[in-house]
């Protein structure tokens, strides 16, 4: 009766510009217009993002962070969409967008501070055009629409990219975001990373049909893109953003990809999925195909790759050092952020807290 069969492999057409083997694919709607510099730069992004992710996972395993949500396998979706955005555009991430953060100029150490429990992310969201992480699934899609409505009212032709997961697509908020965006022609690209899993639940639990089709029922276009193809993700997101900028309202992009790792460092995926599924997806690795392309076309050589590797290692070392150095210096700080104008009773609690703590330093226990 009720069935939880795992998803069928994608029989649905999806935009692809670079095959898993690193071969160029022609697409009628998305012409190939990338130069060598650009492709190398994208590869650098992918490579560095993966290195950051690896370092962060190690830090977590060593107890330096409470938890980490890896983007392993999803780098292309994140870098492709992230690089499509302009400086005045705004991203609304979930909690897994290391790659987008990187593209938006968020320093990796400003991500780890949050997972270390120092703060909820140390970057300046408005300055970076990258909102703080939103943990309540789907909530941020509505913020994205509101922010885009603000852009409209400012007569600014910037646009917003709202990230969410395949699981989150079931939340009321996400569907309300579709409705509001369509109703106001808000310049929002809804970017769903369908990584096939919501913790232990396969996509088939959320939907009978491919997710990109959801959009048409709300009256706007939906596109499925190969989420492991950074060029396709870039091209499709660029297209969607330009639709937004020309006032046509929202576009939904379903980036078809795979969560190669555990849901978070707390999770044990062997309880609910087969190793063979992961193995199959390894063949579609987002980095490997770009590397193959660069090598085959003679656009990058060992010197390039070695230099990149060294650069990434240095970044990782810095990240590690910085993360380790992060501590809470003054616990009373926690009282300072709840309000713009702190109410008296909170002020009073703060003072009592300081007095109370002082009683230990000075004396007993």
């Amino acid at each position: 009766m009720s069935s939880t069969s795992t998803h069928a492999p994608a029989a649905t057409p999806m935009v692809q510009l670079l095959s898993p083997e690193g071969e160029r694919v022609n697409h009628p709607d998305y012409p190939w217009d990338f130069n060598a510099d650009e492709i190398r730069a994208l590869y650098r992004d992918l490579f560095i993002v993966r290195r950051i992710d690896t370092e962060a996972m190690a830090l977590q395993r060593q107890g330096e962070m409470g938890i980490w949500a890896s983007c392993l396998g999803q780098e292309a979706a994140q870098v492709g969409s992230g690089r499509a955005m302009g400086p005045t555009d705004m991203a609304f991430p979930t909690y897994r967008e290391t790659g987008v953060a990187w593209c938006r100029g968020v320093e990796p150490k400003h991500l780890t501070s949050g997972w270390r429990g120092i703060d909820y992310g140390s970057w300046d969201p408005l300055a970076r055009g990258f909102n703080l992480y939103t943990v309540v699934l789907g909530s941020q899609t509505l913020h994205a629409v509101g922010y885009a409505m603000g852009m409209q009212r400012d007569n600014d032709d910037s646009a917003v990219v709202a990230y969410f997961g395949d699981g989150a697509s079931s939340q009321g908020d996400v569907n309300e975001a579709f409705i509001f965006a369509a109703s106001y022609d808000a310049p929002v690209v809804f970017f769903c990373q369908n990584n096939q899993w919501a913790i232990s639940e396969p996509f088939s639990r959320q939907s009978r049909v491919p997710l990109y089709q959801r959009a048409s029922g709300f009256g706007f276009p939906g596109i499925r893109v190969d989420g492991n193809d950074v060029l396709a993700c870039l091209a499709v997101t660029r297209h969607a953003l330009s639709e937004c900028r020309s006032g046509n309202g929202p576009v939904l992009i379903e980036a078809f990809t795979f969560r190669m790792g555990a849901h978070t460092s707390n999770d044990d995926p062997t309880r609910y999925r087969l190793a063979v599924e992961v193995e199959n997806w390894k063949l579609k690795d987002p980095l490997e195909r770009v590397r193959s392309y660069l090598v085959r076309e003679g656009l990058a050589n060992k010197v390039y790759f070695d230099a990149l590797s060294a650069e990434a290692d240095q970044l990782a070392t810095d990240l590690r050092e910085h993360t380790l150095s992060l501590t809470v210096t003054n616990p009373a700080d926690m009282f300072d952020w709840a309000y713009e104008n702190q109410p008296e009773h909170v002020q009073q609690q703060r003072e009592e807290f300081i007095k109370y703590r002082a009683s230990f330093v000075e004396g007993d226990e």
């Binding site: 703060d119 509505l142 509101g146 409505m149 009321g172 300072d336 952020w337 713009e340 104008n341």
Partner: protein
């Protein structure tokens, strides 16, 4: 100065208009607030004068309304949301509690939430289910939010402007059964001329024997009760809390120290209501001064009953006086 005799609904309407004139970033969102002017006509005429971009009829989804308002606030706007009736704030509860209330802390103040969520609240109008709720305690228990209730036209006029000017999110309760109450209001003065700070209580009536603590629709009820008590020779002080979070405790404590007795009156269900918090605070602050425990005169601990029961369910003059009597039994 222009003194107008106006209803609370009209006072709020003029207040909103002034706030919109003063700051182009102020915009209104809600269901039926445009052409219709809201089911209580509080936004009457505003869409006509400020346009559809500033007075925004929304799709019918409260989470969507508050969620998009969050985004607008992030973008530097000052959204004023209308929830059509108290009972329909709950689909937006998640956005209010996990987003509106937390954004300032989450971002260490980098992102402000100068948002007002207007909620017509309370019973007494013979309405159907979900149209007579008093959910203020839920918001009081949510740090990051501020919560106020107006009780009369003058307060409505000033408080809505002050709430919009406030840089923290404000849940703004309007006593729907008092929308048609009239009073004189100076509507031409600038916001700085407001007679009170937003988060301050107001002494509505001086008295010596006991203190009635109230807000929203119960302010009028308590004043009438104080009149009746005076005729019986009992002098009741009446304080309109206005601010539910943060509560303006100093004048309240002062009054209760003076009278030695406090009776809290609210429509919301008793258990876990604002009266509980007041009782906790007063029994601490006035431990040696209280002649009697804080008495609570509240809605009973039931889901709001069908309309024909509400007269019996809600605190009224007699129940307030009964509460005073209970206090004097100590």
């Amino acid at each position: 100065m222009t003194t107008e005799i106006i209803t609370l609904g009209r006072a709020l309407n003029i207040g909103l208009r002034k706030a919109m004139e003063a700051d182009p970033k102020v915009l209104l969102l809600g269901e039926d607030i445009g052409k219709l002017g809201g089911v209580f006509r509080v936004t009457d005429g505003l869409q006509k004068d400020f346009g559809e971009d500033r007075v925004i009829d929304t799709p019918l989804a409260e989470s969507g309304i508050v969620g998009t308002a969050v985004g607008l606030a992030m973008r530097g706007y000052r959204p004023v949301v209308e929830i059509q009736f108290d009972g329909f704030v709950f689909p937006a509860y998640d956005q209010i509690v996990t987003q509106v209330a937390k954004f300032h802390q989450r971002s260490r103040g980098r992102i402000k939430m100068p948002m007002v969520i207007r909620i017509p609240f309370g019973g007494g109008i013979g309405a159907v289910e979900h149209h007579s709720e008093s959910p203020e305690a839920y918001f009081m228990h949510t740090p990051g939010l501020k919560v106020v209730a107006c009780s009369n036209p003058e307060d409505g006029f000033w408080m809505i402007q002050q709430a919009i000017a406030c840089d923290d999110p404000v849940i703004f309760f309007e006593p729907k059964r008092r929308y048609h109450d009239k009073a004189a209001v100076e509507t031409s003065l600038p916001i700085d001329a407001a007679p009170h700070q937003l988060f301050s209580s107001v002494l509505l009536r001086e008295g010596t024997d006991a203190t009635l603590l109230c807000y929203g629709p119960m302010a009028k009820t308590c004043l009438t009760a104080a009149d009746a008590a005076a005729a019986d020779g009992r002098s009741l002080e009446v304080i309109d809390l206005r601010a539910i979070s943060p509560m303006d405790m100093a004048p309240i404590i002062e009054s209760v120290r003076k009278t030695g007795r406090a009776i809290v009156v609210h429509e919301a269900q008793q258990t876990g209501g604002t009266g509980a918090e007041l009782a906790a605070r007063l029994s601490l602050a006035c431990f040696y001064d209280m002649e009697a425990p804080v008495i609570r005169v509240c809605g009973y601990d039931l889901p709001y009953p069908p309309a024909r029961y509400e007269e019996e369910y809600l605190p009224d003059l007699d129940r307030v006086l009964d509460g005073v009597d209970q206090s004097f039994m100590y």
